[in-house]
Structure formats: structure tokens, C-alpha cells
Assembly symmetry: C2
Homo-oligomer: 323 residues x 2
Amino acid sequence: MRIDGLQYCNWSRPIFEEMRAGGLDAVHVTIAYHEVFRETVLQMERWNRYFEDHGDLIVQARTAADVEAAKASGRTAIIFGAQNPSPIEDDIGLVEILHTLGLRFMQLTYNNQSLLATGCYEAEDPGLTRMGREVIAEMNRVGLVVDMSHSADRSTIEAAEHSTRPIAITHANPHDWHPARRNKRAPVIEAVVARGGMMGFSLYPHHLKGGSACTLDSFCGAMMDAAAQYGVRHFGIGSDLCQDQPDSVVEWMRVGRWTKQIDYGEGSKDNAGFPPQPPWFRSNADFPKLEEGLRAVGFDADSVAALIGGNWLDFFDKNFGPQ
Amino acid sequence: MRIDGLQYCNWSRPIFEEMRAGGLDAVHVTIAYHEVFRETVLQMERWNRYFEDHGDLIVQARTAADVEAAKASGRTAIIFGAQNPSPIEDDIGLVEILHTLGLRFMQLTYNNQSLLATGCYEAEDPGLTRMGREVIAEMNRVGLVVDMSHSADRSTIEAAEHSTRPIAITHANPHDWHPARRNKRAPVIEAVVARGGMMGFSLYPHHLKGGSACTLDSFCGAMMDAAAQYGVRHFGIGSDLCQDQPDSVVEWMRVGRWTKQIDYGEGSKDNAGFPPQPPWFRSNADFPKLEEGLRAVGFDADSVAALIGGNWLDFFDKNFGPQ
């Protein structure tokens, strides 16, 4: 079972074919960064066309059983997620509506303060808001996973504590390995995994030690260190692969409609676009190389299987849908 | 199995309790008259609250199997429908989105011309539009039933012919019995039932011979005549019960946002509000009386069972969801 805990590619049949070439059984795909409800539904409509037109390669999944059925049919399961709570606007009733439409992950923040919590680029983090606590309870009820990848430390720890079900950091790396602003400090990881949470290791170059020059050995070594410190069952891959996207898309991710200025996020004026991927992970077809790398740093077969997808599948089984 | 093919009550726990008292196993409820997509979703959110708060009495159904499960659990299944295509706006992709959210019936028109077809109050009926043909094909694909209760004759006949799956007139009566504008002429009924379609007999007083003074014997006699002419398996109940609604709601049904004038629809200036129900059908608790009336006019036990719910259940089984 091979599962990627987050991607946002410029979707096309060649990319779906690469998912099959790489033996991907499931991919959590982002369908919203700053989109409001109606715009998010338009993205779902776009995916419905992909499912109609490329039903030989991909199929929507809402449960772990759907992922296993997709694998059995030789297709890659697609699971919807949002990187911001913008799709629920100010309406808690939209949590269940979006869950019914297949949403299974939702970040409480994307870099900035939201109605629910604080993003990792704010100067101050006052923690969960009143609405944030209510929305987490509603997400717990219906089985929509709280994702804190782009959130600030206090908000993340409070979300892990307030949630009655495990939460996720779908795509980030340990701050101890590479101190990027988006990577997670030890107390944050500890709060998430202590309650059964999951963290997906990111292959987005700004999250990697050495950036685009990061080696497969260094990446897999960081997973080994995390497994030794927190337990192998809490980790997986969340590649953050943004294949074939024009640089206008990274600008949309960073700027949305919240400012009239340019914000470079993890980049800079001289390096504003998508950074080049490391040569050993350029597409879904490279997924088997991650397995090789994990074996090479000394993981046994069971641990490799858990990290490359088994842990995500267990997490889906426990956390998608009502308890 | 007792099924009502259409209601739009002012929903409350007492009404859900009357559904149980009347032994209703399923009710098709209207969630949109003139509402656009986002407003329709708000109505679904409202129903989600009803399902949470009154889950001992009602449960949402998307399939015939869901209806049978509801019956087995001693609850009434609720099936969503729209009386207008306003919820899909001008976007064919919303057909599948709304179906995923549980919509199972959609009228192509509500009295007026729509983007899809012509309503029964227009002076001219040019038949299905270009978009109408496309939307019917999409409704056929996903399993969203075409309902032509408020449509004009030519549009209805063309819809029955163009649709590759049976269509419905969820709530209307034969024009031969009572020549109201909303009741259906023989060639219209013939076109619908010849292709496996269903028609629900309405208990809305303007559709009844004698109006509010119509007798149970006359109503059941009309069902007997229809069964003799077209076959018993094509008919059921679609009561159009609008219990506890203020008259402002019938005004919304008739006027929506399409005019600044008052339109009295089937009423008149002197009789603008909801007409009083006949004394033998004032609430869901009166449903068993309809069975008694059908037996009294001479239907055998199998026919009564078919008319009171079995025919709708068979229709749901064949027409909800992809083929």
C-alpha cells in the first residue's frame, strides 16, 4: 500500500499515469487554498470530470475501504482536502456538507490567522478561537480530519488537545532536521503523535535540508530519527508535490486575495517561483525510490510498508467518517 | 410500505411524530422552489440539523435500500427534491454535486420558463431547450429523477421521450377528473407511463375535484379510473402536503424573485393563501385513511400496497443512482 498524504499538481492524464507507474494506491489532493464554498464546489466539479474521463486510472475515495477497493481495481484513490477553512466560510453547517461531498482533511489555517486558529507566519499566536473549538468538535463528529500543517505552534498543540480524535500534519518535516518556518518543533510533533496523530514527510524543497540538493539518504535519515524518537507508526509521506504548476499558482497559494502586495512565503524575491524538485523525486513515478531509500537507511520491511502507506491507511480507517 | 411522493411542510418534531403515527416509511420533501445553489445547500444544512436532533424519528435516504433500512429501524426516510432547476443555476456540474448531497428529484420547471423547459403557466411551450437536453442526459447518468409536475404539456412529453430513464410527475392529478391547469392531460400521462414513469396523486385542494370539499371516495375513484386506463403500477401518492406553512410561503412559491407583482397562481385575490385541506387528509397521521379509501373503492390488497408505497419503492430502486 503506497499513499501520498498531500499533492497539488497541475492534474492531467500523464500525471495520473505516473501515479499508476509509481504504484500509488491513494493520494490526498488539495482542492482549496483560499477558495470559498462555491469555488471549492467548482474544484469538485472539475474532479468529477477527471473521474469520468480517467476512470481507468483514478477513482474518488471517502473511506479506507474505498482505498483498498481502488487498489484491488488497479486504480489510484483520490481523497479531497482543503488547506484552509475558507470553504466553510463562516458557516459550521458546511463542515458536514463538505464531508458529504468527500472532503476528508481540512487545515484550520493557511499561514495567516483564520476564523479558527493562527497560521505559522503570524507574529502572535493566541491559539484556537471560539469558532475554532466549535468547528473542531463538528469535524470530530462527522470524521473530517484536522490538518495543522500550516498552523502556528500554540494553535497546533491546542488543536491536538481539544480534538477528541487524532489530528494530522499532512505535509511538513521536523524543525530539528531543517529549521524552516513550516517545519515542526519537537513539542508540536509530540502533542500530535501522543494522541494518535500522523505526520507526512514533505518533499517540497523549502522543507528539505539543503533544499533542492537534499539527498535521498538525508531525507530517509530524518524519517529514521523521527521514528526512533516518536515511533514509526506516526509517520508517512506527504510529498507536497506541485508538479507542472506555473509559478502563478505558488503566488495564489501565498497571496490569495488577502493582500495587494506580493508575499514570497518560503521563497524570496530572487527565488519567487516553485523551487526545482530533488532529482530523486520529480513525479509520482519516483515513489518506489522512496521505498529503496527507507530500506537503505536500515528500516525493516514492516516499517517501510508502514511509512510508505500502511500508517496512512490505518489513520484513514480510524478517522474518516463518524466514530 | 407507505411512501408520500411530495411534501413541503413547515417541518417540526410534531410533524415528524405524525409521520410515525401515520406509518410513513418515506417522504420526498421539497428543499428548493426558487433557491440558487448556495441557498439550497442552506436548506440541506437545516435538514442535517433535523437529522441530528430528531434521529429517533427520521433519517436521510438516498436509495431504496435506505428506505427499507429506515422502515426496519422504525423511522421515516427523507428524500430530497427540488421543484425548480434553480439549484443548478447555469452549471451542469452541479447536477452530480447535488446528487452526491442526496437530491433525488428535480423539476425542470416551476410554472415559468426555465433554462431547461417550459412551465405550465406560460402561454407558449417551445419544448426542451438545448441545455434541457444536456441536463436530462446528466440526470440520467447520475440517477437524479426528472420531475415534470409543474411543466407544460409539450415539454413534459419531450422530457419523457428524450430521457433514457423513466421520469415522474410527483404531484398532480388527471385533467380528465379535474381540469385544473396543474393537472395532466391524457397524452401527457400516457407519454410518462408508457416509458415506466410514475405519477403521484395530489391532495392539494386546487388539484382536487370540488377543492377542499372533495370526498375521499371521489379521490380514490380517480385513482381507480387511472389504474384502469394506464395500469396500477404507475401510480402512487404525492400529497403536496404543506402543513403549518404561513401564507407567506405560498407567495414565495408563486412569486419567488421573478416578479415585483403578486401572482395568485392556482389561487385568486379573494383566495390567496393555502386552501384548507379536506377533513380526511390534514396531516401525515391521516395516511391510513387513504388505504381505507382505496380498499373501499374496490382495489385488492396487492393494488392498495402498490399504490400506497410499493410502486414508489420500485421506482426508487430503478432510478436513484447510476444504472
